[in-house]
């Protein structure tokens, strides 16, 4: 099968700081790839490069084998949906009308004349369990509800690839797990390929098929969670002393953090 999404020698600088340094990454169809690493290691930037929202200084991102920046924006949005870290202020927009904006890529400017609300929107609202808030203004919702609305917005695009930037930020533990499980269920149902930035290694271990750890703008480790996540990774990538253990049933990894590691 073809690679839906890949980065080819991507290099990004902000001023004098090199954020990504020749990163190569090929995402396999149907997998959930988790990008992990410290703050400022380039995870979000890599996601934005993959989405065609940031032009790298060198290298390129390919969507279905074609340079993402050469494709019309609408075609990109039909191929991949992005969930950015924070939803911009949407004022008094209702949930249904916001989610309907996700149909722009499919329907085009004139197709939005009716508002864009169609079956795909209702299905996305249903799948994310937010249909009952459909007519409520988005800014009245709680953080967890809002996160599910944003997921519905991304799903309404009907794109085969989903890019998630910190989907669990601002949520308490229960809502974090709910959102991640929801993504996992929907990804299976809709055969989506998922690339997500995740802060919490335990989350990465729980959801992802593959973990890519970035350190100082380079890929430091790449593989299944059980192989990649260990005490050395905690020390080298995150700078913490901690422990990684399989839970009693042997299925899942547990991660505990003890203290910041002494600087090398």
């Amino acid at each position: 099968m073809t690679t839906p999404l890949r980065a080819d020698g991507v290099r990004v600088r902000f001023g004098t700081r090199t954020v990504l340094d020749r990163v190569d990454l090929a995402v396999a169809p149907g997998e959930w790839l988790a990008l992990v690493g410290r703050n400022g290691c380039g995870k979000t930037t890599l996601l934005r490069v993959l989405a065609g929202l940031h032009r790298p200084d060198a290298g390129r991102a390919l969507l279905d084998g074609r340079p993402v920046l050469d494709l019309p924006r609408r075609q990109v949005a039909r191929g991949l949906a992005v969930l950015p870290q924070a939803l911009p202020a949407v004022g008094a927009l209702t949930v249904r009308r916001l989610v309907a904006q996700g149909r722009y890529a499919v329907r085009g400017p004139l197709g939005m004349l009716g508002g864009g609300v169609d079956d795909a929107v209702e299905t996305a609202l249903d799948d994310c369990g937010v249909r009952r808030f459909g007519d409520a203004p988005v800014d009245r919702l709680s953080g967890g509800e809002r996160q599910r609305v944003r997921l519905a917005l991304a799903l309404a695009q009907d794109a085969p690839v989903l890019l998630l930037d910190e989907p669990t930020t601002f949520l308490d533990v229960r809502h974090q797990l709910e959102v991640l499980d929801l993504v996992r269920r929907l990804a299976a149902e809709r055969s989506l390929t998922v690339v997500s930035v995740l802060h919490d290694l335990a989350h990465a271990a729980r959801c992802a098929d593959r973990v890519v750890a970035l350190r100082e703008g380079r890929v430091h480790a790449d593989g299944p969670p059980a192989e990649v996540i260990d005490e050395r990774l905690l020390r080298e990538v995150f700078g913490v002393v901690g422990r990684v253990h399989a839970d009693r049933s042997g299925g899942r990894l547990g991660v505990s953090y003890d203290e910041p590691a002494a600087p090398p």
Binding site: A77, R78, P88, R97, Q101, A105, L110, G115, G116
Partner: protein, 338 residues
Amino acid sequence: MRTALVGLLAAVAVAGLAGVQLLVGSTLDAGTALAALAGRADALTTAIVLDLRAPRVLIGLAAGACLGVAGAVLQGVLRNPMAAPEVTGVGSGAMLGSVVATVVGGDVASPAGTAAVALAGGTLGGAALWALAARSGGDPMRLVVLGVLVSAVLGGTTLVLLTARPQLTGSMTRWLVGSLNGRGWEHWAALWPALAVSLVAGLLLAGVLGLLSVDDDHARALGLAVSRWRSVVLLVAVVATAASVAAAGLLAFVGLLAPHAARAVAGSDHRVLLPLAALTGAGTVAAADVAAQLLTAAVPGDAGRIGVPAGAVTAVFGAAVLIGIVRRRSRATVEGTG
């Protein structure tokens, strides 16, 4: 439902104001004017109603509607509730264009020629603002400051032109203040197509405007070619503004307040907001012109002969309303944080 009701009421109010403008005036009583409309009056009376009053009424409505559309579009695309033709350089650019057309004279000074040069001026003003704003990100506050600066430069240039041609100053102050005095069918002919085009284009672009009015990255991620569509949408606002300014001068505050009022009812759905803003703008100018004519009748001497410009009324009234809005907002903010 509520929106439809408000829209209906607004339409009735606008029609009523237009009727008052058409039937009531210093030269004829309402009965005679009605008779003229029905074709049962002498040639002079008919000419006063059909060739002097009717185009004035229609131009006022269309100029106001254009400003309402332009303001609503600008506020959406710039994501700024304070955006309006007069604070973005678009209005003063169109004003400069109109004055340039008058100074050049000849065919260029014809209503259609003036509208064309005003369009060029408005585009120049909008492009200047956008070029400056693009370097400093899309920060709303900075955009307003830059817009005021661009307007000041263009307004200053206009004044230089006015003083350079003192014999034309009298006829050119209309662009600065905004007035419906002395407007005829030839001005209407240059105005209504621009209103039709900008309103229809604005409605067709409602979906695009909805995406743009949230956030650039959001719109781009959802598949919108942001800079291209933003230019198209801004052009709609420039066309509407230029036509309005070329016909009636820069009627202050209409393009700021009409969309504000419409938004309070219609929310952010541009399919409803644009027609309602057009209606509100039309009504505002009609009401201002009625007030201006009442003032003209009440003031003895020269003012009575020249005619109080409608733009003077919108400026004073608009400033008062704006101060009210700002006061209420700042109070709401204080209470909100308390």
